[in-house]
């Protein structure tokens, strides 16, 4: 019998905490098919909120009484800096709700996709479909990456342990877009209750307003006929 070659465990590195918008984009992806499960408008509003969320988490922005205020300190990330400068230099719009819509209007989805492509977090693929245009997909190299944030959030809530600030905000945005039902679909009601409790108690005031604003924008979109 030949000696079995020694199997070495793959070298796992602890991934650095992802950017909120990237995580949100990945959490919207179906980890079986690679398709984006969020409707384009919900995805765009969610990504806009997540990008503002990134700046909230690093305290470059705050939301006070629904108004978005920004600090005059540069951010290393190019996309974050671009958004920061937009808000910094343009005073024609002040409400966080309106800024979300402005970011949606400036095609935030494409901007975030470009950032993820540049960082190698997603690759662009197309999938042929019967009698239809090929489907354009932006998928992570390993589809399990798409499920990672959901698994992490569900696991932490299940213990229950407090979510990190960035994960809690991500969970809040997933709830605002309705995506939490899929991501947490295998969890019992106690997990949802725990998320409710943490969203109520642990989220900082700016982030609470961000989640509320996102919900408001999406609900308004849901009930207004498209024109």
């Amino acid at each position: 019998m030949r000696p079995v070659p020694e199997v070495t465990a793959p070298h796992y590195r602890k991934a650095p905490p992802g950017l909120l918008a990237d995580e949100f984009f990945l959490a919207g992806i179906d980890d079986m098919t690679g398709e984006q499960r969020l409707e384009p408008q919900a995805l765009a509003v969610g990504l806009a909120a997540a990008l503002i969320g990134e700046l909230l988490l690093t305290r470059h922005m705050v939301i006070e009484d629904g108004k978005l205020r920004v600090a005059d300190v540069a951010v290393p990330d190019a996309l974050q800096e671009r958004v920061r400068l937009w808000v910094r230099k343009d005073h024609s719009v002040v409400l966080a709700k309106d800024w979300l819509l402005v970011l949606v209007g400036r095609d935030i989805t494409t901007l975030v996709r470009h950032r993820m492509l540049a960082a190698g977090k997603v690759v662009r693929t197309t999938r042929k479909r019967l009698l239809r245009k090929p489907l354009e997909l932006y998928v992570p190299p390993s589809l399990s990456t798409a499920a990672a944030a959901g698994v992490r959030i569900a696991g932490t809530l299940n213990v229950p342990r407090a979510l990190s600030t960035s994960d809690l905000l991500l969970a809040g945005l997933l709830r605002a877009t309705g995506r939490d039902r899929e991501v947490l679909s295998h969890c019992g009601p106690e997990v949802h209750d725990e998320l409710d409790r943490q969203l109520r108690e642990n989220l900082c005031p700016s982030a609470v307003q961000l989640v509320d604003t996102t919900t408001e924008v999406l609900v308004t979109a849901a009930v207004t006929p498209l024109f």
């Binding site: 969020l38 024609s92 400036r106 039902r181 509320d212 308004t220 849901a222 024109f227």
Partner: protein
């Protein structure tokens, strides 16, 4: 970036024209002219409808002053419901929401009774096939149920084309009618005060309100369009619809002859307008009108379906109905559970009518429509009082018109409501001792009362739910109490 954020934002807003088209197509002008006017003539036997349209338009214009001012301060999806809870207290708001659900469902489901027979007639004339009305109703139902779950872009273009065609056709009919009046030439019959007064006053005004139902949809856009465009759109809609309805109904009376029009209408209510068109313009005009009538009813079905779903959704968010209704589907962004439940209810009613073998036009369409009109009148009245109270406390602009208009509207709408209830049998076209005569008004009263009681129960048992009613529904993520 060459454009400012404000410009980017403005580019996403709905324009005045967009609000007008949506609102006017929710009122479905051709359905009103072809079906409601003539069934109204048949049921009441009076000619005063053209004048009734003018009076109702005036009342609604006064009403819209306060309504739009409130929409500006409280942009919200469940318009009537939110306004009533803010103006008259939350229990009244819950009552209003239940009435709204019942009224819009009655209107929507009633329309299935119109689309079935109209389309069946067309198929019989064109292809000589006999299709039962309920088969067509179920096909229409499937279309509405499917579209209700989707987010359809470009629907504006379709609506615009259909609406323009409807309006053009109604105007063409009117011109042809006036060019070929019955013996004796055009008279003032229909516009004279004498035609309106008497026991038919209430029913005629009620029917005229039914014609304008849908104008209140403009407030839905208060968040997505600029405030001034909502105001402009509301006024344009009321004025335009008023002119169209009054001219069309008056010219119909002139062409058919004031003495014979009632008998004509009673023999075949939905055919009068098209029979006149065939006689004056040729069969192509009648054919085009009948096709457009089908599409017009379909557009109304879709629009009222959206309204029902929106109310259910708003109530679900406030936890007045189960929270599941307050969810949107992530894949479409539409209020999915609310839409599905409305579709299910409509299907049950269609199947019940198909099995029971009841007449779809007189039983489903006309009774559904008149019951809905009563409910909408009730809501208009409650909303008018709510705007009076709310604006007195919160109004920033203190012009004379703003102060005077809401109370005048409240009194006028309530007076119409009383007149309608007093002569409801005539409006329904049933004898005075029919169970429907009091059954429908009492049903609405009980539903309103039930809602108020439920609101009070909520205050006692679930104060945290009670606190959010009508206040922060757009802001609170569902389940996060």
């Amino acid at each position: 970036m060459s454009t400012t954020a404000a410009q980017t934002l403005a580019g996403q807003r709905v324009s005045t024209a967009g609000v007008v088209f949506f609102t006017a197509s929710a009122a479905t002008p051709l359905t009103v002219c072809a079906a409601i006017v003539t069934t109204g003539l048949a049921a009441t036997g009076k000619l005063g409808l053209p004048l009734a349209f003018v009076i109702i338009a005036a009342v609604l214009a006064v009403f819209s002053v306060g309504y739009v001012a409130m929409a500006r301060q409280v942009p919200n999806a469940g318009a009537f419901y939110t306004y009533v809870s803010l103006g008259l207290g939350r229990p009244a708001g819950v009552g209003a929401s239940w009435v709204a659900l019942l009224a819009y469902n009655a209107l929507q489901i009633g329309l299935y009774g119109a689309i079935g027979p109209t389309m069946a007639d067309l198929l019989r004339d064109w292809f000589a096939v006999d299709v039962p009305w309920w088969v067509i109703a179920i096909v229409a139902w499937a279309v509405v149920a499917f579209l209700g779950l989707r987010r359809i872009k470009h629907s504006a273009r379709v609506l615009l084309v259909l609406l323009a065609a409807e309006v053009a056709l109604v105007l063409l009919y009117s011109v042809a009618n006036l060019a070929n009046p019955a013996d004796g030439g055009p008279t003032l019959d229909g516009l004279a005060l004498g035609d309106l007064l008497g026991s038919a006053l209430g029913p005629l005004l009620g029917l005229a309100v039914l014609g304008f139902v849908g104008f209140e949809q403009s407030a839905v856009f208060s968040e997505q369009a600029s405030p001034s465009s909502v105001r402009r759109a509301t006024i344009i809609c009321i004025g335009g619809l008023c002119a169209l309805y009054a001219i069309s109904s008056w010219s119909t009376i002139q062409a058919a002859g004031p003495d014979t029009v009632v008998a004509d209408a009673q023999s075949s209510p939905t055919a009068v307008l098209f029979a006149l068109a065939e006689q004056n313009l040729g069969s192509w005009a009648a054919g085009a009108g009948r096709v457009l009538l089908v599409t017009s009813v379909l557009a109304a079905l879709i629009s009222f379906h959206a309204t029902c779903a929106r109310y259910t959704f708003a109530l679900g968010r406030d936890h007045v109905l189960p929270a599941a209704f307050g969810r949107t589907a992530p894949r479409t962004g539409q209020p999915g559970p609310a839409s599905i439940s409305q579709s299910a209810l409509a299907l049950v009613v269609i199947i019940a009518f198909a099995i029971g073998g009841w007449d779809p036009v007189t039983k489903l369409f006309f009774i559904g429509g008149t019951a809905g009109a009563l409910g909408v009148l009730l809501l208009l009245s409650a909303t008018a009082f709510a705007t009076v109270r709310y604006l007195r406390e919160h109004e920033v602009e203190n012009s004379f018109l703003r102060k005077l208009a809401p109370p005048v509207a409240a009194i006028a709408v309530t007076a119409i409501l009383v007149l309608v209830v007093a002569n409801y049998a005539l409006l329904l076209g049933v004898p005075e001792d029919s169970p429907l005569r009091w059954g429908i008004p009492i049903a609405f009263a009980l539903v309103a009362l039930g809602g108020v009681v439920y609101g009070i129960v909520l205050r006692r048992n679930r104060p945290q739910v009670y606190d959010t009613i009508g206040k922060s529904q757009a802001r609170t993520p569902v389940n996060a109490r």
